[in-house]
Each structure stands twice: as C-alpha cells, then as structure tokens.
C-alpha cells in the first residue's frame, strides 16, 4: 500500500520536512490548492496566516483509481489514527464493509 501526503505547503517546506522526519513517501505540494478544491476539502481562511488550506481528509484509492474508503473528520483535532485507517482499509479489501 502506498501513502501520499498532499498539502498547500511549498516544495521547499515539504523537502525540509521530509528530511527532518525521514519520510519515505511522497509529499505533494498543491500550492494554489487546486487539487484540494477538486477534492472539495478546502478549508477557507484556516491557515496560520488566514490562508486557504486543506482540511484533514483521507481517501483510500484502489489500483483502478476508485475511491474505496473516505475519512472526513468532524473535528480538526481528531485525525484518523494509523491503526484505525489500516483496520478500515483491511475490511474494505477483504470485502466486508462496516
């Protein structure tokens, strides 16, 4: 399974962050928030400088690019935990959805 991060941060910020945190997965820079808009996960004015950012959201996409699981938090502080996301994705993959 692949993991990809997307935010409105610049390539430079993502580069620095990846080096610091030793991430091995891609962090994509959507500086003008066009992809964030396309996925309708824009959070207007909620960035540190009142800029538009992405709300926390996770999409699990299968090999054909079809969405199989979506997690849209109702509280910015509450994020999908890795074990919850993996359990949800496992259940999707094995065919019984809850």
């Amino acid at each position: 399974m692949k993991v990809v991060g997307i935010s409105v941060d610049s390539v430079e910020v993502n580069h620095g962050h990846t080096q610091k945190m030793h991430f091995t997965f891609p962090l994509l820079s959507d500086a003008d928030a066009s992809v964030v808009r396309r996925y309708d996960v824009l959070h207007r004015g909620f960035g540190p400088k009142g800029n538009d950012i992405a709300r926390p959201a996770e999409f699990y996409v299968d090999a054909n690019g079809m969405v199989q699981w979506v997690n849209l938090t109702e509280n910015i502080a509450v994020r999908a935990r890795p074990e919850q996301a993996l359990a949800a994705i496992d259940s999707v993959k094995s065919g019984h959805r809850d």
Binding site: M1, K2, V3, V4, G5, I6, S7, V8, D9, V11, V13, N14, H15, H17, T18, F23, P26, L27, L28, S29, D30, V35, V36, R38, Y39, D40, V41, L42, H43, R44, G47, P48, I53, A54, R55, P56, A57, E58, F59, Y60, V61, D62, A63, N64, G65, M66, V67, W69, V70, L72, E74, N75, I76, A77, V78, R79, R81, A85, I89, K93
Partner: protein
C-alpha cells in the same frame, strides 16, 4: 496582625494558565488531543485551588489576604478557560461540509503535483495493486 499569604490563589492561577498553554504539548499525542482531558484536568485543578483561596479570603479575612487579587486572578482564569473552550469545542469543529468530495465507488479526480524533490507526480503513477492512501493535511507550521 499580619495576615497569611493565600497561596492557593496563586497556585490555582498558575495551574489554570498551564491548562491553556500546555495545549500545544498535549496536542502532540492523539490520546490527549482527540479529547483534551489533560487540559481540562488542569483547568479543574486550578479552579479548585482558586475556590479554596477565595473561601479563605472571604471566609477568614482576618487570617488570609486575597479578596481583591483573588477575584482578579479568578476572573482572568475564567476568561482563559472560556477562550480555550470556545477554540476547542467550537472553532475546531467548524470544518467544511465537503459535500462534493469524492465518495466510495467514485473515481478519484486526476491530478499532477510536484513532490518534495520537485518531481511532477500524477495520480496514475501513484496507484498500486495494494491501493493508495491520499492524505490531505493542513500543512506544516
């Protein structure tokens, strides 16, 4: 007669201020972030100490000081708690509806974005037999 220092008022105020400013620390851990019980516990402890101090100041004023600064520090602590509660229980829940977000069974919208090494990456290249998790996040600050 010299009256005693009313320490619970100061201790309560410091603990309540800690309840607000420790949020950044506790927000690092999901268990104290999903629900801010650690901060609420600090606020509650601060309130208890402030109450003890106020009871001393108003109940036995001949023994303890603190009627005026006790009230002032309690008012500030209440204001800080109000601010905390507003941010945590209101502002953090003001998330957009995202009614048009891709749903289960729909095709994920195509995109192409630069990765951390300025290499352009398209969604099609990210798909894998075991699936891909796209994580939108608020950014790093």
């Amino acid at each position: 007669m010299k009256r005693n220092w009313n320490w619970p008022i100061f201790a309560g105020f410091v603990v309540a201020v800690g309840g607000l400013f420790s949020y950044e620390f506790f927000a690092q851990f999901p268990i104290t972030r999903d629900f801010p019980w650690a901060n609420l516990l600090l606020f509650a402890s601060g309130a208890a100490l402030l109450l003890v101090g106020l009871f001393r100041a108003f109940g036995r004023p001949q023994l303890y000081r603190g009627k005026i600064f006790g009230l002032i520090l309690t008012a500030i602590a209440l204001f800080l708690f109000g601010f905390f509660a507003y941010e945590i229980f209101y502002v953090l829940k003001q998330v957009p509806l995202s009614a048009q977000a891709p749903r289960i069974g729909e095709k994920a919208p195509e995109f192409s974005l630069p990765d951390q090494n300025s290499k352009q990456v398209a969604l099609a290249e990210l798909l894998s037999p075991n699936g891909t998790v796209l994580i939108f996040y608020r950014g790093h600050w």
